[in-house]
Symmetry: C2
Subunit: 471 residues, 2 copies
């Protein structure tokens, strides 16, 4: 315990947690991963983070950096050995600066995403990263996992929203890389190496983030479609017709809307008759720099052309903000209704947009053949080629039997993804969850390069060991 | 020469050049750097590149990868020792695939940028990277140096335009990373590490590039301004008012337009009287997804507001494509007129947009005080914080005297850039030109991290030695 005393001197007594106090940091929020730790340290500044890392290095203690603990792959949960220190960044939660003229903000790693969004809005700016966990996830975690979300089509992933980083290296040095520049070609891109490395190469302590103008108006439309191929053709028409004003293009299987309707009958589907029975729907969002009227007019023009071309069967364009919200609410209710229906087997995959129809057709057939009685719950961000391809139990299939198939289902789906040049983790990362299957889908050269980088930046292997790569 | 025979067996006799045949590959296009080489190899495929690299490794021969040889920092020119092999990628010049539905293209490293743009246009798509050397530079070189250009404000640098890479590593292995995915979180970002590394970590042999819809119309306006501060405020208004349709925002000092007028009097300035005498001008470009009329209307609305707010003194909005071209031609004639006026000392720098006025004021004063008789030629991409801050000789100052100040001028300008959080190389890279001053402007931690990465990926130090980092 002398060791921990030293740690307490660095961060303060009340910020070294053990026993029950440490417990919430040792389980991921879904309760899928449980670990043990020497202690949890909650440093209050970048300097303290650096000192804690140096302490870990001196004592050979592995470190597990943790943000809002909302990750989905177990990257922020320690292993069961109890040897590691959980290094929680939650107290580094200051917005250090907002530079309106430069359209940038410097936020510390522990800032909750929602507070970053709010600080941008307070300055009449948009920080466009947006995802379900935004009320509790942190920007440091978002960057460590290169989070995606709902507006990637227009603004990119977390990676594209960071101009600079401050990082504590695995040696406990501080890299002062908080540059707010759109152009800087002075050497290797350290920034993008740390982003998405899930805390295995160093600890992101702050970031310079890109801000955008707030859109003047937003408008949403729900379109009923005959096929995924039509959705892909419609995406092309929409990208051409709306340009960068197109900020959302979600694909939704008809079965998903029926599921929502079953569990939330108060949510009215905006279609009737045949249009309510189609296999696919697309939810489009425009962010307009002119006016709500202009956004609606643009929708009417482009959707009108798509109707005439036979790409769209029926369409509802929101007439006001509350209608727009109701359409989005349908989409957001899908995961909730899915949960109400019981456990399911989820996939976070991407394929080239051009292979989407082929992927869905082939994979559906393969899954149905091998796993009788299942039901598909398919929705996602078509504009990014990102699909939530989920498998639920149909009537007459027990939850136990469905879940017993989990690894086999993963393999069928991921093999299909891989065959079409896709990714087995589009948004959520690798963590512990996909670490062991990664070598099945990445060539040996890439795995070897990744190991070389890990060895170069963390030669002692103390940074979040056992995540992304086998420790 | 047995060695070279082996090389000839790999790439074919006629593709190993020595003596006079090798000469064009040993001098950069501006004639600033001249080197020597064992030979020049021109492999015709990725496999041949890999075999050549393996041959180099086996024989301890350093490699200098070369694209269109249009770089500005000497990164593609070998040193004078004659020990290195120049590895020219020019024969890898196939567009391997255009995937219209996925908005991607796979191009080999040796494709001329203009041919990549053309292949995109042939598929009714835009590849937005555009720069002065586009008729002879290659996409491989663009990626190796993370080229910028005129549309970074909207589409980003070369880095942001590549989704995947094929790379021959320093060991001669092939990394098959040609993924066409907008979302992929399966491990470390190797792509962005190779991009911008100037051939010092491996050789990019092909890339999966992002395509965009072609804009329906483009429209340009030239605005006369009282100050850089007003230009910065105008940028904010324009970003808000035009959204992502704003594809260009160039800042031009009034002196630059006078210089153009002096050497090309047939180029009419579109202003008269007081408006022709203002210290600053801004050239704005809109890429519209609706129509030329809509673009003009938007310009009239937003520029009208800026005139009323006093941010803009006078404005000319192009009424047709030829007027738009004439306005751009004024901007493009600045470097030509600058050249006609004699040699000058050029800087490729960036600072946060919010520090632009301060940078120009302070640096102008410092330069004027220490180097009497000089004249400023200042223009650049304000939207990216990127300035071509050039120093020419005024009347009565000799070219010789001006050039004798070169290193001292660099230091004054770069010190000011650094003090304001800027970059001493916004677009062009480091190469040989800025290698030795880099440690002055980067902290020791960052330099050490860069050396660790170099050591990890190129432990023998054979990949373009002496570029970016001291060999």
């Amino acid at each position: 315990m002398t060791q921990l005393n030293e740690l307490a001197r660095i961060v303060g007594d009340s910020y070294v947690l053990t026993g029950d106090d440490a417990q919430p940091y040792l389980v991921d929020w879904r309760g899928r991963y449980t670990g043990a730790a020497l202690a949890v340290a909650r440093p209050g500044s970048t300097d303290e983070v650096a000192q804690v890392v140096k302490w870990c290095v001196a004592n050979g203690v592995p470190m597990v950096p943790q943000g809002g603990n909302t990750g989905l792959c177990g990257a922020a949960t320690p292993d069961g050995s109890g040897a590691a220190l959980v290094l929680s960044l939650g107290r580094l939660n200051r917005i250090r600066a907002v530079d309106v003229d430069n359209d940038t903000m410097v936020a510390e790693a522990g800032c909750i995403l929602q507070s970053v969004q709010q600080a941008a809005r307070d300055a009449d700016r948009l920080f466009p990263l947006s995802l379900a966990a935004e009320g509790s996830c942190t920007i440091g975690g978002n960057l460590a996992t290169n989070a995606g979300g709902t507006q990637v089509l227009r603004y990119g992933n977390a990676r594209e929203l960071a101009l600079g980083l401050e990082v504590v290296t695995a040696q406990g040095e501080i890299w002062h890389g908080l540059r707010g520049l759109r152009k800087d070609n002075t050497g290797y891109d350290l920034r993008d190496l740390y982003i998405g490395s899930e805390g295995t190469l160093g600890i992101i302590t702050a970031a310079t983030l890109k801000l955008y103008p707030l859109p003047v108006a937003q408008c949403t439309a729900l379109l009923a479609l005959n096929s995924v191929s039509d959705a892909v053709a419609l995406l092309s028409v929409a990208r051409k017709g709306f340009g960068a004003a197109l900020t959302g293009f979600e694909l939704i299987a008809g079965d998903c809307l029926k599921l929502v309707n079953k569990f939330y009958p108060q949510q009215r589907l905006p279609f009737e008759g045949e249009s309510a029975q189609l296999p696919w729907y697309a939810l489009l969002e425009l962010s307009d720099s002119e006016s709500a009227e202009h956004a609606r007019e643009r929708f009417e023009t482009i959707v009108g052309e798509a109707l005439e071309a036979g790409l769209v069967v029926d369409a509802v364009i929101a007439e006001n903000i509350s209608q727009s919200k109701a359409l989005w609410h349908l989409r957001e209710s899908i995961p909730l209704a899915e949960k109400d229906a019981g456990k399911s087997i989820k996939h976070d995959v991407s394929v080239p947009v051009s292979r989407m129809a082929e992927f869905i057709d082939n994979t559906n057939a393969a899954v149905r053949q091998r796993f009788p009685g299942i039901q598909h719950v398919i929705f996602g961000h078509l504009g990014d080629g990102n699909l939530h391809y989920n498998i639920a139990r149909g009537e007459g299939l027990s939850e136990g039997r469905l879940l017993s198939w989990q690894d086999a289902v993963y393999e069928v789906v991921h093999d299909n993804v891989h065959r079409l040049g896709g990714s087995i983790s589009a948004e959520h990362g690798v963590g512990q969850l996909k670490r062991d299957v990664l070598p099945r889908y990445k060539d040996a050269v890439e795995m070897a390069l990744m190991r070389s980088l890990k060895q170069a930046l963390d030669p002692r292997g103390l940074m979040n060991p056992g995540k992304v790569l086998v420790g």
